[in-house]
Symmetry: C2
Subunit: 294 residues, 2 copies
């Protein structure tokens, strides 16, 4: 990984983790609920979403007292969705990132409620920002709700469930990913733009960037599922082939999928040309998403 | 039921129902998700929460274009909580108000996601109000999130689950109800106060009112579980005795519970004295909550 990106990540991930803890503590849940909420927040992950919020501000050379909170809000939405996704009635996963899933540790009822409470907490956070004015705060609420709900992430999960039963076209597959993972990634970029006072034109170009890195992220996941090893990836490989799920490689072949990934990568970089600097964090993130091996 | 209250309800429930449909349609969910969301919204109920929002405005002789939307937002939160509550891992109910529960019709996975999407939609609605300024809108977001999450309704559900295993004191039982049902009822009253531009003192007195009607509502439910019949109530009676759950009658005896109900009723009416008029809608609601036989 690029050094600048590496040091940006090393510097910010501990801040994000500490802030998420603080925000949950402040909510003062009963002990069992708190333990369950914190367990899944602690389960790690790359923290790509909150890092993207912060990266936009850095690339715009802006700071905002509220950026870390907004970054945490979106990561809490992501965390809630993973808890609910892992439930027996959904993907029925016992492990995530090598750790027992929430419901395996706390029981299903608490897992459902911890997910519910994490979703709500994200909106509590956006309602308590200190620096941005109310009109920006309410815009962030609208953007996050739109990215998370039936129009965004949850809509994508339903499309994904329905898609498991049938063969999808490439267009339908993109539709699933644009909703399921893309909407929340787009929120991160757009929230960064709001906090950085980006112009409408800049915001429009950043939206194009986020759409392309979202699709690149997913196609790379699909490729790694075929080309990586279980040891390296920390989760079973060839799971998509086993479940006969539509993926980019199943639709385009492995080489076709790699070409498509390349195209999304180029589009993402092109949409950043307005930043007028090489080596922006957003560019480095796009490179990382494409080149990563886990 | 009092005539004025009856006509207020008959006039407003169809408006609330129509607006909820419109708001879900506008979200444009995929067909299966939409059907599941609308199914539970259609499952009826007394619509007490949205009616209370509108009643505050009526008693303050104010109108607001946004009142109906805020009223729907809180009913959608209530609806999502019922869907999740009914899941096999929670209360495992097959029927609610004589209709099959959401997961019995659409499957558990869709039920979880429909609940999630209804929660999010409530915040989408508050982010798209037309008349109130952003500072009020963000205040409403904060109040609804606080009432719904770990500090409010979800926290109460966890306390309730934990309470099922042990005998509670009267204080602990109140704690459960103040969170589980009281927080959302208080939101309704306070949201009405925000929309009606109530003063701080008036809001403070309205909070006292909502706390007392919330507890009255619950104690009346406990009493009806003993004194009513399954036919009249539309759900099994004596369920609390069978499950050995702590209730007001189990802690205070039936007569003691009735006295306590009387006390909450009187407190609620007293806190309305600032309105300086007899027969306010809020007074009629308090009477109805205490006198209802279903």
């Amino acid at each position: 990984m690029n050094n600048r990106l590496q040091s940006f990540i090393s510097e910010n991930v501990p801040k994000i983790d500490a802030e998420m803890h603080k925000l949950i503590q402040k909510e003062n849940p009963t002990p069992q609920l708190k333990e369950s909420m914190i367990y899944s927040v602690n389960a790690g992950g790359k923290r790509i979403r909150p890092l993207l919020v912060l990266a936009v501000l850095e690339d715009f050379m802006k700071t905002s007292k509220d950026a870390l909170k907004v970054a945490c809000a979106v990561e809490l939405i992501h965390t809630y969705s993973l808890i609910h996704d892992d439930l027996p009635c959904m993907d029925d996963d016992d492990y995530r990132r090598g750790k027992l899933t929430n419901h395996k540790v706390f029981g299903e009822a608490t897992a459902v409620l911890a997910g519910d409470a994490l979703q709500t907490l994200a909106f509590t956070i956006l309602a308590s920002l200190e620096e941005v004015d109310s009109s920006k705060a309410i815009r962030l609420v609208g953007l996050l709700a739109s990215a998370s709900g039936a129009k965004g992430m949850v809509g994508g999960q339903i499309l994904d469930m329905e898609g498991e039963k049938v063969s999808l076209t490439l267009e339908q597959l993109e539709e699933v990913h644009l909703h399921k993972t893309g909407a929340l990634l787009s929120f991160c970029i757009e929230a960064g733009a709001v906090l950085a006072n980006a112009t409408e034109l800049e915001t429009c170009q950043l939206r194009e960037y986020s759409k392309n890195i979202g699709l690149a992220f997913q196609i790379k996941d699909d490729i790694l599922d075929i080309t990586s090893t279980t040891e390296l990836l920390g989760k079973p490989v060839n799971s998509d082939t086993a479940s006969q799920k539509s993926t980019y490689p199943s639709l385009l072949g492995l080489d076709g999928a790699k070409q498509q990934l390349q195209k999304y990568h180029e589009n993402a970089l092109e949409s950043l040309s307005f930043l007028d600097k090489e080596g922006s964090l957003l560019e480095l993130f796009a490179d990382y998403i494409v080149q990563r091996d886990i």
